[in-house]
Chain length 411, copies 2
């Protein structure tokens, strides 16, 4: 379709200012649409990690705790993530995994709202959010109601003084739907409850503006759009006004006010440091810190504009080349994260056939072809190429080839 | 003292079979006696980490979850640690930090012993053990009694059916005293309670034999004698007989029976995998895996013999060169971990003066010079050199130099 090729060129010209492919080390010949599962390798990360291993660890050994300020990494990296999610300094700490941070948040929120007995969360949430919210709430003596984000504001109003916490993801991991964080936050505050937002699928690709929207608590991972590497440590946001009341249930020594005094009793650190627990995995954390340099000088607003252009153009391509394909992701830009999910009865095999063609997306149960559009390292040309391959797979029924049917352990 | 030099040579000859310095990349001119805080860099780790970053992450991207079995790393690395602590396969998982694992263990233990109301722990424990045990027990409705390991068996007998859990460190982090794990475990079992051992200062340097002694639960870190690098992930041991009952309070998706089914409800994985929580920090975890190769073909019993020879020889040197020095660590080999702690009123400054001379140990509040003897990369010659430098510092009152007085943030 020559018109689409021309359009891709025009859009890439328009967005040339946010073409940051040069800041990444991408494999040749691949259109990587899985940056919402594992972000690509940013330039400079390998060099930083080699320095951490050889010099900081190997040569300077224990001295690096001071000399390279390993001790300060969790809050230093946290502040850097904070800039991407609209959090002023001193409110984000890089620590543990998203699951562990969510656990802390749910338990701490329950303690901040004593006497309230309900937590609401999204039935379609990423599983760990459901599991952890459920387990933490149960142990804190609360019950969990599963309420779609679309109905959550109304349910919050009904629950009133019974509601302790609304625990939601900003973007649905399967459908890519972007929920109305400001409105739900307001509705929850109207009844005196707290919100905790999971930003795994929004940090770094859209404006979250935690401070501006008076968010209470938030969590998110470091390895998707933040490109921190496999299993990169996660982050925890606690709004400054709640920090004194934030009672971290996992009272580890890294969150102590004076950790090296080796005092016999726990006294939480002032500020966001009380969100820390044990000694952090520094190779992974310092890789994440280096990865965040890819964002230097860029505004999330500009990246969001590029992301919407990429996903919007992909929808155009699908409509033109694959009419009738069921698009699960909302078409309205303001309701769309940075991904496009398509429904297909053979979604798993379609994804495998795409991967064989060098277009890497992923499958999500039960029938979702999930394609993530990391704005920094994708072009409209890539988007068109992905659509062309998808068209070829579906038209030729390539996904019916038996070699694409076998499920691997991790999908 | 020529006699000590001769003796160092003889001992190094005797123990030549366990001289594994060649398996480490140590800085020149340093005697590193802080391997009980941050283990040295093993050979091969830098190469593995570079491969993980460049090839597994950078080139193969998401595919590495299957291709390089990232998913299996926690149990694969766990089994490898298990071999060093006497645990048969399927009982150790590498995950989270020691603090987080201790939290899971205390909460899970309380649930395995309903109706029992007391946890005992060591008042001199490493702070995080006190803080986490206290917080987790309190939240589970139990009270904590602080009882010295020396008195713990007697107290367990008194508490009888009130005792739920004894949470102790195998080696005291300050004094280096090795406690009687088999005897305390038996005493606790005699009243139907559980034990959780913290192996941070014993894993890799002495025979722990978890299975042989019927230990119930254990935790430990990856960055001391296991040499996994700064903040390397920790481990959790749950004896097979307890795994079905082990109810991980932090019910994250990595511990689910079918994580990629994205099921709406939590069903814990069979076996030790239920100790997992979120996505692990793979750069740090795979560095630890590579580091464990330093143990290939070596027995912990042989390393223990070398360790006792090193610490024993250091005591000889101190007695000969610095008579009157207060040795805090027990002199009986069977009561000694892999360190020697000395008491000195200016301990902090003494440690700094030693570091300036290339002998790296650490200070522990309030007056402890703590010297760790990682058996794989230290020789008796190193031990003698350390003692000579200590003698020079103390004799010349070098520690009174004002430049050694200023405390850094992390000591």
């Amino acid at each position: 379709m020559p018109a689409l090729h021309e359009r891709a060129r025009i859009l890439d010209d328009e967005h040339a200012g946010t073409d940051l492919r040069g800041r990444f080390r991408l494999p040749a010949g691949v259109v990587y649409l899985d940056g919402n599962s594992l972000g690509a390798l940013p330039a400079g990360v390998a060099e930083t990690v080699a320095d951490v291993v050889h010099r900081q660890w190997g040569s300077r050994l224990i001295e690096s705790w001071n000399e390279s300020d390993w001790w300060g990494a969790p809050t230093r990296v946290g502040d850097r993530i904070g800039r991407l999610v609209g959090a002023a300094e001193g409110q984000v700490v890089c620590t543990d995994s998203t699951s562990v941070n969510l656990y802390k948040s749910v338990v701490a929120a329950a303690r901040m709202r004593p006497g309230r007995r309900v937590v609401i969360t999204d039935p379609a949430s990423f599983p760990t959010d459901l599991y952890v919210t459920e387990a933490a709430a149960r142990d804190a003596g609360l019950t969990v109601e599963r309420v779609s984000p679309a109905d959550a504001a109304a349910r919050a109003a009904e629950l009133g003084a019974d509601l302790a916490l609304a625990s939601y993801s900003s973007v649905d991991y399967r459908t890519g739907e972007l929920w109305d964080l400001p409105a739900l936050t307001r509705a929850v505050h109207d009844v005196g409850a707290l919100v905790c937002w999971d930003l795994c699928h929004s940090a770094g690709v859209l404006e979250v503006d935690l401070d501006a929207h008076d968010v209470d608590l938030a969590v998110g991972c470091g390895y998707k759009y933040l490109n921190g590497g496999p299993g990169a440590p996660a982050f925890l946001y606690v709004a400054r006004r709640h920090q004194d009341a934030f009672d971290n249930p996992i009272a580890g020594w890294n969150g102590h006010a004076t950790p090296f005094a080796m005092a016999p009793d726990y006294v939480p650190a002032p500020g966001i440091s009380r969100g820390r627990v044990g000694t952090p995995p520094l190779l992974s954390m310092l890789a994440l810190e280096a990865a965040l340099s890819a964002y230097d000088g860029e505004s999330v607003a500009d990246l969001r504009a590029r992301s919407l252009s990429l996903t919007g153009f992909f929808l155009e391509c699908v409509d033109a080349m694959l009419p009738g394909t069921e698009v699960v992701t909302p078409r309205e830009p303001e309701r769309r994260g940075s991904q496009v999910s398509l429904r297909h009865p053979d979604a798993y095999a379609v994804v495998q056939a795409l991967i064989a063609r060098g277009v890497v997306g992923d499958f999500r149960e039960p029938d979702i072809v999930r394609l993530g559009f990391a704005p920094m390292y994708l072009t409209h040309g890539d988007v068109l190429r992905a659509a062309e391959h998808l068209h070829a797979v579906v038209e030729d029924r390539e996904h019916e080839d038996p070699r694409f049917a076998a499920r691997s352990t991790v999908t």
